[in-house]
């Protein structure tokens, strides 16, 4: 039980970003305490004080966590219970009450506190200027445009960099494996993935045998990807190049 409790503590700390010096949780807990002491309206106390406190206690309760994980068969989403606290709403309400009559100066102080304790979302490395209306990398769009058949579906082998995007642009392109292979903790195994991504140098003969099992009409490789023998020696032809990606077409499939 103690171990489960400690796991909940770790989840809480990760959620609150303590390891990255995010202290918005401090503001929230302060405001929750402030509302405990000052909120007179009993209905607001129920919604903004009693319920969040009970939810926090439940979150740390090992028995509750065991039940949650057992019923949902999922331990990874336990942190979403903390969404129920709606920290920003409770904190903002507490802040406005705390400011009292000194609203303007209070607003300025509170904004500074939020900026100091928080983390600017648009600083995220995952947010970049969009290349196009799809909000997908332009290379992925161009590659699919080159390969997409006029009718029907084809299977295409692409490097990990493109796996997330190809099918967001066209579902006529199928993949031998998808995003599930890129997340180690999910523990999937796929021979094609091993040959394509895990091998330091692609072993061409095995690789080609595997691609023809699906069969992959096109194979996309980064131009600097190391490969024992060129694919062109095994019935592939260079079909085009987009940025750093070289597109090979399996001509043996084209013939059949």
């Amino acid at each position: 039980m103690w171990g489960i409790f400690l796991e909940s503590v770790v989840i809480f700390k990760n959620y609150m970003g303590f390891h990255e010096n995010g202290y918005l949780a401090g503001i929230y807990l302060f405001m929750l305490l402030y509302l405990w002491l000052t909120e007179k309206d009993r209905h607001r106390r129920a919604v903004f004080v009693y319920a969040p406190t009970l939810l926090l206690l439940m979150f740390f309760c090992p028995l509750f966590r065991k039940l949650f994980v057992r019923v949902l068969d999922d331990a990874e989403t336990y942190y979403r219970l903390l969404w129920l606290l709606q920290m920003s709403i409770v904190s903002a309400y507490g802040m406005v009450r705390l400011c009292g009559r000194h609203l303007r100066i209070g607003l300025a102080v509170m904004c500074v506190a939020v900026i100091a304790c928080g983390n600017y979302v648009y600083d995220s490395e995952h947010i970049t200027k969009a290349d196009n209306a799809y909000h997908l990398p332009q290379d992925a769009v161009d590659i699919v445009d080159l390969m997409e058949p006029e009718e029907g579906r084809i299977t295409v082998l692409v490097p990990a960099d493109l796996i997330y995007y190809v099918r967001q642009y066209s579902t006529n392109i199928e993949l031998p494996y998808g995003r599930e292979m890129l997340i180690n903790r999910w523990g999937y195994y796929n021979a094609m993935y091993e040959a394509m991504e895990q091998a330091e140098v692609i072993e061409t003969k095995t690789f080609v045998t595997l691609t023809r099992e699906y069969p992959c009409t096109y194979v996309v490789l980064k131009e600097d990807r190391r490969i024992e023998e060129p694919l062109t020696d095994y019935g592939f032809a260079v079909y085009g190049q987009v940025g750093e990606f070289v597109i090979y077409k399996d001509m043996t499939l084209a013939d059949s």
């Binding site: 959620y15 709606q86 979302v121 993949l175």
Partner: protein, 391 residues
């Protein structure tokens, strides 16, 4: 041009017209156009869930078309009913559905105007970032592709989004049909589902979320004269209370834009980890789970505040709030199957607390009754998840 008209029709006109139905059963003091839209969205999503989940479960071929056609007919009928309610309400001379009871309001002071200006600047900044900047999220390889499959292959949850292979129903995702609503909008507007997800959805969902916060703020910073009927106001004026009331009115009203600015700040700087609902709100706005965290859960808070909120001296029974509570429950289910479990926990805990403060067991019974959709949803989930044990 067709696309824009279609988007306006399905994202503005239809929800607005549907929203007129529940708003008819709300206190006139609550009514405003923003609430009509919000209520309309929750009712529309509930209808979508009720139509689409059975289609996912029991229709094998072209299940998206079946659900889409049924939903089109039902939503247009609901919208027509909303217009009829609006017309009959106006004809009967009742308080307006959009404006409620018109009251004299003291003019906005400059500082208040500036605060609202700052809020709209911050909200506009988020919309700009959402439209012009791309936010990478690995889950899009599932959710966005699920929408695109529905649009391009007319299939819901029978093709594996990650690779394209066929698959059996995955209970965890199959009941959360929010991506299918995105696909519906994509088909109706003839826009690629990925563009609808990444560009159109944030432009709709971010304002909707702030409308929700605005409604919460309206209750929290209610002005003293809100909800007092004319007679009460006159009495207050006669006894010299009006002046004090006006000052408090203005004072409380000024708190609302401050609250909204702080909400913006929390969203923009709430990225203390990848797990917070604030991070989800601005980096994966289009995913059902983000909608659950940022819009649906606050809607529960709003409803719990509103249900037991006293307007004037008496608490009024508002059937519209109970209807909305049921619809928000269904909406949670279409957003994410985890969401329906966690909002049920929220509902149970808050109802328990409200029961204690109200000293009335009926609170638990009434709120519990509004959660019947959750029980049905969870029943289907459990049966599907553990059906192999029966086989």
């Amino acid at each position: 041009m067709f696309s824009i008209i279609s988007l306006l029709f399905w994202l503005l006109v239809i929800p607005f017209c549907i929203g007129l139905i529940p708003v008819r059963f709300l206190s006139p003091d609550r009514r405003n156009p923003g609430l009509v839209i919000l209520a309309g969205y929750f009712c529309m999503w509930a209808v979508f869930g009720i139509v689409t989940i059975p289609a996912v479960l029991w229709v094998q071929y072209h299940n998206f078309s079946v659900a889409s056609d049924c939903f089109t007919v039902l939503s247009i009928l609901c919208a027509a009913a909303g217009l009829l309610v609006w017309y009959r309400n106006a004809k009967a001379g009742n308080p307006g559905l959009l404006t409620g009871r018109s009251r004299e309001k003291s003019p906005m002071v400059w500082a208040e105007r500036i605060e609202w200006f700052i809020f709209f600047g911050l909200a506009g900044f988020q919309l700009y970032k959402a439209a012009v900047y791309a936010s990478f999220d690995g889950d899009d390889a599932y959710y966005v592709v699920a929408s695109l499959i529905a649009q391009q292959a007319d299939v819901m949850y029978r093709i594996l989004p990650l690779t394209g292979g066929s698959t059996g129903l995955d209970v965890r995702h199959a009941l959360a049909v929010f991506p299918m609503w995105v696909a519906f909008i994509a088909v109706k507007s003839d826009i690629h589902a990925t563009i609808v997800s990444h560009v159109v959805m944030p432009l709709v969902l971010i304002p909707l979320t702030y409308l929700m916060y605005y409604e919460i703020g309206r209750i929290l910073f209610r002005t003293e004269t809100d909800g007092a009927d004319g007679e009460e106001k006159e009495r207050a004026a006669g006894t010299g209370r009006k002046k004090t009331g006006d000052r408090k009115t203005a004072g409380n009203r000024e708190k609302l834009p401050v609250f909204m600015i702080l909400m913006c700040m929390f969203q923009i700087f709430g990225n203390v980890s990848i797990y917070t609902n604030e991070t989800f709100f601005l980096t994966r706005t289009w995913q059902g789970k983000a909608v659950a965290g940022s819009l649906v859960i606050p809607a529960f808070l709003w409803l719990f505040l509103a249900l037991y909120d006293r307007i004037g001296k008496e608490r009024r029974s508002e059937a519209g709030l109970w209807l909305l509570l049921a619809c928000v429950n269904v909406t949670a289910g279409i957003c994410s199957s985890i969401a329906i479990f966690i909002v049920s926990i929220l509902t149970a805990v808050t109802a328990f607390c409200l029961m204690i403060v109200e000293r009335d067991f009926k609170v638990l019974v009434k709120i519990g009754a509004a959660c019947i959709p959750n029980l049905i949803y969870m029943g289907i989930y459990v049966i599907m998840a553990y059906s192999y044990l029966l086989g």
